[in-house]
Symmetry: C2
Subunit: 288 residues, 2 copies
């Protein structure tokens, strides 16, 4: 059920990117935008679309912020991969933008993808103005210097710190770096319906943390071929991770506990939330 | 009148940046955000505040998008100055972020300043939801791959083109690169008041083009000390500019004509638009 829905949603989001990016001038930067928004799990976009279904919001409305959050995620990956940041040559098994084109194209394509995210959330098709303004404001809060960029900056600061981060510090770092956008995605359906976001927020906070723990586990145990990126980066860099702090077995238990907590928060929706619960269980079982 | 108002508005915008950025974690990236949003002419922010005054919009509302457009402008400068882009060591007479900190900090600070721009335009203090959603959507359209980034990408493409750009091509390039944000700024006051943007749009289109012609003139005739940045860059790079295409005297005449056209578009406002008219005349007389 979940895997089929994820595949359908990924295809729908790809169509939307084709539509939106197809209207742009044909230049290196727009080619790079299209190139980098192909593929990926589309988990964030799925969370927008599935939480919208949960609130009977039409897919024609929800597809815009679903594509928007994938544009924002893509921007963060493109800039993260730059030589001055993580310096990665591969992403999803393909050369990164600065390898295929150059660094200037990577900077500009990432910049334009961030802008596109805000455009897609505020287009008239999304719904009433309250919804559009609210989606844009919360997206900015989740992705800026109090959200994702804060997490990235804490990550960079940790590299030159005298001591490795402790569990509280790494939890805060990850709440920004990956948690805030996952939370935004899961809450988007409730926002589109102008409904209470509390259950989805609790679900997403547990899911986001479990997602990062699973990433750390994958970094140690995973197969670089399947993951489509370099692994063991954190261990090689001597960085603290949930695995280095908790140990592998305890990290797995913690992730599983979080998933059960997250699913419990959705009880109010009954069986209609089954696909979201399946999604949560997938997050800690994935191999890429 | 205009110069005093510009100075007052610049101080008001600086206060707002201090308020907004003062609440962030103290990290390299947030220090760099504060550093790079100090100084500058604040012409875009002034256009927001002055067009708001023209429509009797309260300054407490207009200050948010005025600070937002300056955040967006600052992001574009920080990324433009990167080694892989224009590779500039000085901006407003001070070391650029990648010189004072490093490239990663410059990429992240620019990213977060773009995000901040959208946050400031959609905060509840700005006004009703229609206004906030409209400001964010039009800002995205003006700054993304159909606006500012398009202009930057055309600029990069021109460097490796077989022939220099002609007048139509360079006009389109500049309409994106600098014109779109100037237009957004001047129209913001009408948007805040939910009034017709046509007169301000006509004014701003003429002003934006004149602004760029004046920049090209300054690049040839200016004093690097006063400008606070390296000059003669375009001539050194063999790039087409309004000056290389029109000649210096005709470029000056064209800029002056545009300013008169732009001022004529404001006749509907009577003497209330005098400060905006003065601003337009300042743009082609400035030395930095």
């Amino acid at each position: 059920m979940f895997r089929e829905q994820l595949a359908r949603d990924a295809a729908r989001i790809q169509n939307q990117f084709d539509l939106v990016l197809g209207g742009l001038d044909d230049l290196d930067v727009t080619q790079a935008m299209a190139y980098t928004t192909q593929g990926g799990k589309r988990l964030r976009g799925f969370l927008v679309l599935e939480s919208a279904r949960l609130h009977d919001v039409a897919e024609d409305q929800a597809i815009w912020p679903a594509t928007g959050i994938e544009a924002l995620h893509a921007y963060s990956l493109v800039h993260d991969d730059l030589p001055c940041m993580d310096d990665d040559d591969l992403r999803r098994g393909k050369p990164t933008i600065h390898m295929k084109w150059d660094q200037a194209t990577a900077v500009l394509a990432g910049d334009a993808l961030q802008t596109l995210a805000f455009e897609l959330c505020t287009r008239p098709e999304v719904g009433v103005a309250e919804v559009r303004a609210g989606l844009a404001l919360t997206l900015a809060q989740a992705s800026g210097a109090q959200g994702m960029v804060l997490g990235q900056a804490l990550d960079i600061a940790a590299e030159s710190a005298a001591e490795p981060l402790n569990l509280d510090e790494i939890t805060r770092l990850q709440a920004g770096k990956t948690g805030a956008l996952i939370e935004w995605s899961a809450c988007a359906g409730a926002r589109l319906a102008q409904a209470d976001t509390t259950p989805l927020r609790q679900y997403a906070q547990a899911l986001g943390l479990a997602f990062q723990i699973a990433d750390d586990i994958l970094d140690v145990e995973g197969d670089a071929q399947k993951a489509g990126k370099r692994l063991q980066k954190d261990a090689d860099a001597g960085k603290a991770t949930f695995v280095s702090l908790l140990g592998l077995d305890a990290a797995k238990l913690r992730a599983a506990d979080l998933i059960e907590q997250g699913c419990a928060a959705l009880e109010t929706y009954g069986s209609r939330a089954d696909t979201l619960k399946e999604a949560a269980r997938f997050v800690i079982a994935r191999d890429s």
